[in-house]
Symmetry: C2
DNA sequence: GTACTAACGGAACTACGGTTCCATTAAGAC
DNA sequence: GTCTTAATGGAACCGTAGTTCCGTTAGTAC
């Protein structure tokens, strides 16, 4: 959100074979320094603000351009659509922040639950997440960026579950990523589906439930050997 | 979705005190018979189809009117906005369908998990749910309709958990609604956030995890007496 | 059956999100 | 410093989602 670097680097080369000139790049790739970088940072910042205020549907790029102090032509040229901009914003949000370590699995799960709850319950962040998730339901690129975002967040916390397996606290064969996901799931379900409050107790329950289920072997990989990989 | 009856009956009388004429009702309330009912049914059906095909953002009411064989003026007059129409659609979806009863809590939770998984994994239904949830992030009325929808679905399955408490299978003081919600949560988390596949194993895990957590007392109401009610 | 009018629907209209054009600014190479 | 041209931004433009107008259709009362 603060600094900026080239986005959309994972573009799969070309959508249709033999389109336009082969070497033509997106704007912003040849001279990514000074102004270009400032524009990108300002626009992503403004996009986050606008999303948090209006939500996904009521959003138009002209408003974002105005907030960013940038011409709307620039925004349309660089990102094209609201969902395209959000995909870039998600890539920017995906950079990991160091997690706390409490030494015990239950303690780490509680810490994770509190962090997720606090993020989703925060007015600005909560709206931002809801908006981004809504956008992902409308656009494949945004959805892919969202999945990468959660992959990186889950991977960041997974070691605490893996260590618990290694020291015998959780059963052998436990899908450790799934343990971490289990902490977030009930909190997101409240945020998006039921609208139940995201209070401290909901976070505590989420961590306790994930821990109890993991100990009972609910996340041990079963039958098929298909789901070995992280998935 | 098939039959139709007056929607928006839970309208809180008037938004602003002293607006327009006091007795003027929404169109469709004075002569709700024949044509009006057919129009409503056709439009809701078409809205579901269009949502499943295009998603929430790419939707316009003129297209829905065309599919329904109805004038677009009528759609705008009756529902006004996409989110307003979706709120009505959700009210229509909220009517409960009888659930299966297997006699054991784990069996019922498994049945619920399979039902939810099948619904969300179905191409049409899955898109429909994602679209409706996306719409709910953008509009308060739609969000309220969505919450009512899940309230009714959860309430439909809650008895199996309550009976389990009564016969001592689950601890006294367990929040039985929360047990049911715990089954859906990981499946919705996959659908909306991580994009992980909604396969049979995910449903099995969801039920197993909810059961294990409930047995371990993770859903027992704690500390504060504030959360006695269903919430 | 007739009368009354709620509700519908086609067509013209409006407003605004999104695009195109081109002059201006400044990044990067030397 | 100069030169080249990538990138920006204002202004005019366009297409379509959403509105208004008003004549037509058909529920409901009698």
């Amino acid at each position: 959100m603060t600094t900026a670097q080239p986005p959309e680097t994972e573009e799969p080369d070309s959508e249709e074979p033999g389109a336009e000139e082969p070497g033509t790049d997106e704007p912003g790739t040849v001279r990514p320094g000074g102004r270009t970088a400032r524009v990108r940072a300002a626009v992503l910042r403004a996009a986050g603000d606008a999303l948090a205020e209006h939500g996904f549907a009521q959003l138009d790029l002209a408003d974002i351009a105005r907030r960013a102090g940038v011409g709307k032509t620039t925004v349309y040229r660089r990102w094209g659509t609201v969902t395209g901009l959000l995909a870039d914003l998600l890539a920017d949000m995906a950079r990991t922040s160091p997690r706390t370590e409490t030494g015990s699995l239950l303690g780490d799960l509680e810490a994770n639950a509190r962090l997720v709850r606090r993020t989703l319950a925060d007015p600005r962040q909560g709206r931002l997440f809801r908006a981004v998730i809504a956008a992902a339901t409308c656009d494949e690129r945004t959805a892919a960026a969202l999945h990468r975002f959660y992959e990186s967040r889950i991977a960041e916390w997974e070691p605490c579950a893996r260590q618990a397996v290694e020291r015998g606290e959780l059963p052998q064969g436990t899908d450790t990523h799934e343990v971490i996901r289990a902490v977030s799931a009930p909190l997101y379900y409240r945020l998006l589906a039921t609208g139940a409050p995201l209070d401290e107790e909901s976070a505590h329950r989420a961590a306790q439930a994930a821990y109890a289920a993991a100990c009972a072997g609910a996340y041990v990989r079963e039958h098929t050997g298909v789901y070995e990989a992280q998935g």
